[in-house]
Symmetry: C2
Subunit: 392 residues, 2 copies
């Protein structure tokens, strides 16, 4: 298996974007090509979930490869719910690692604010089990709320811990020019003040408005290259050293222990094993905090903290930018936004930026190993990636 | 790059299927596992185009991997318009060739008869250029009709040649138990008789009803395995020896020579080069005859016949099952049907069946090399595969 490196990266602002979806994928790709200083691409993978339904467009990869004038390069879309982005990176990794291609451009993009929030919520809910969940009206917020209730009862975390994730990530987002939310929040403002119940009402108890990520448009791109090509690129050398993926039951109620996220545990273990590293080697991580609870649970399942103790580490400030293991310095999905197909690629974008030491005001201190967890469905399809800064 | 073999294959009947889309993907996968006599799968790629729009379901791969009880195997959907199937085989090829996985199950499925024909036609049209084509009402039949008119003027083929493709493929489909159309047709009945204009009206002149493939539901699966795994499987040894893919301009009018299908030419050349073979080495081929004209043009662009002479070879019977280069013995998209995401995988299914010598009444005489062309968009994204029967 050949080594695979990150040649270049690019991103759009995550917000409401009023230009065509194909351009939301093409723009960060163009930035990534410029970043790498290369022009020849063998293959393009576009990560996207909603184009057929939300944007009335299919075969998006053909549109993007043409928009970038990269024809006759091969191109295809990878859809894997909210884990589309990292799934496309995995496919790109295999294409380069095999020797089939030397340069694979992976661009994730979503334009979901073309529909209203209700339609967007329904659209995202189509990733649940069609016969056991969706037809009964289950949505992702309701899944997350039921899970949170069980977690609170079992492990003793409270709404205050959830609010701490929201405050940390949304304030990290203040330091990220590409983030969707640029609105500083405090525990006082969203939980303790008389106005808190108005400012931050329950969406699905015990989850409140500020526990959920916004609905965002946006794109992010990462170019994966072979060793030979990496040598020609004058950028810090970042290797995609570990790729792990695991699935769990499609219907959440079929899981033996509903507070375990086994697919996260397995995908992380695979990723670390391939990289020859352990969770304690990680210096910075981007976890999939579509809901605040998920950051806490993932931080346990990937092996950073013992099960049930993620909220304790959070409370101690260990996951802050200046903590012992910074999580979601970008602002995470919560603060940066969650254009679904882009998210996994955007997580990689942040880790590469951090490992390069180019994260500006949100820079973590000298990281060498970075990690991403891209969470699909309600934990039924998870991809974890490990990145390592090498020599130069 | 490791060698990649076909471990097992499976298919559903192509018709109207009244069971869930995830099962349409799972059933042929189960058959393929049985065919291979294996149970462990590392990764699943599902090829599908319409689930989000037509079936109101996303993250289909998570549903299928669970339905097959293959969790915690990784899984994702590949969407690439009508070339989704072969694109998924390409991704599976890279996963095995790289050493990332030893066993990758590729299942293509579509359930598009859930909507009516008008909606299905509109849905397929969403693969055209959204700003330069779709908004003006372009559909795939209208694209194909304009192309056919130009081809007739330039190369002298007639409606009779188109009808000959229809008759050949639909009658081949009579020999295929999984084919959608089991209705024998004659040139007399669809072209020369007084009733022909009623039986076979123009859909988009010069294309008639019998020049277009039906709208089908269906699924097909192929298991790709490493050399080591292939050795443990007691089936004829078929290697996926060549994988080629190329794109062309997304808007058809931007092509310098509108009667050339450059992406077909390039994808085929790549596939042959990787396999170390030439077009004249091919013993049996499945070409993407969504419209009859396409079989003729592809047979030229992939290098079987000189440009503009495909219809001459057809007329001479060279592409019949007992001809010198049988094309679409399965019935092709025209006779077998075209469940969009399944098609590229179904083409591979037929080629493997032929190379194994298991095609029954439609068996080609002793083929060693087989070839597929899976045509996306209106020729803007094409994947060609070359299969070789080895030793045993």
């Amino acid at each position: 298996m050949r080594d695979v490196y990150v040649g270049g990266i690019g991103i759009t602002t995550f917000t409401r974007l009023e230009y065509p979806l194909s351009e939301i994928a093409a723009y960060p790709a163009m930035m990534a090509l410029k970043d790498a200083g290369i022009r020849d691409v063998d293959h393009l993978y576009v990560a996207n979930m909603g184009s057929a339904r939300v944007n009335h467009q299919t075969a998006l990869a053909s549109a993007v490869v043409d928009s970038l004038s990269l024809t006759p390069a091969g191109a295809a879309v990878i859809e894997n719910g909210p884990a589309s982005g990292a799934s496309a990176l995995k496919a790109g990794f295999a294409a380069v690692a095999s020797g089939l291609h030397d340069v694979v451009l992976v661009s994730g993009a979503e334009r979901m604010r073309e529909v209203n929030n209700l339609e967007a919520t329904d659209f995202v809910a189509t990733l649940t089990h069609p016969l056991a969940e969706y037809i009964y009206g289950v949505t992702l917020p309701s899944h997350a709320a039921m899970f949170t209730r069980l977690y609170m009862e079992k492990y003793g975390l409270t709404e205050r811990h959830l609010a701490m994730v929201a405050v940390k990530n949304q304030n990290n987002a203040m330091l990220n020019e590409f983030a969707h939310l640029h609105q500083p929040i405090t525990i006082e403002g969203i939980l303790d003040s008389p106005e808190a119940m108005t400012n931050n009402p329950y969406v699905a108890e015990p989850l409140r408005f500020f526990d959920a990520c916004p609905v965002s448009d946006g794109g992010a791109a990462v170019i994966l290259v072979s060793d030979d090509v990496a040598k020609t690129i004058d950028r810090p050398l970042i290797r995609l050293a570990g790729v792990g993926q695991a699935t769990d039951t499609h219907a959440v109620h079929e899981r033996e222990e509903p507070t375990d996220l086994l697919a996260v545990r397995r995908a992380a273990a695979q990723s670390f094993e391939m990289a020859g590293l352990r969770p304690e080697d990680v210096d910075v991580a981007e976890l999939h905090d579509a809901f605040t609870i998920l950051e806490i649970v993932e931080s346990e399942e990937v092996g950073f903290f013992p099960k049930g103790e993620g909220h304790v580490a959070l409370e101690k400030g260990e996951t802050a930018i200046d903590g012992s293991l910074p999580i979601n310095p970008s602002g995470g999905l919560k603060g940066k936004g969650h254009p679904v197909g882009a998210t996994g690629v955007a997580q990689a974008h942040e880790i590469v930026t951090q490992l390069r030491g180019e994260a500006g005001d949100r820079q973590v201190d000298g990281p060498q190993v970075g990690f991403t967890c891209n969470f699909g469905g309600f934990g039924n399809n998870v991809v974890c990636l490990t990145f390592v800064r090498e020599g130069r």
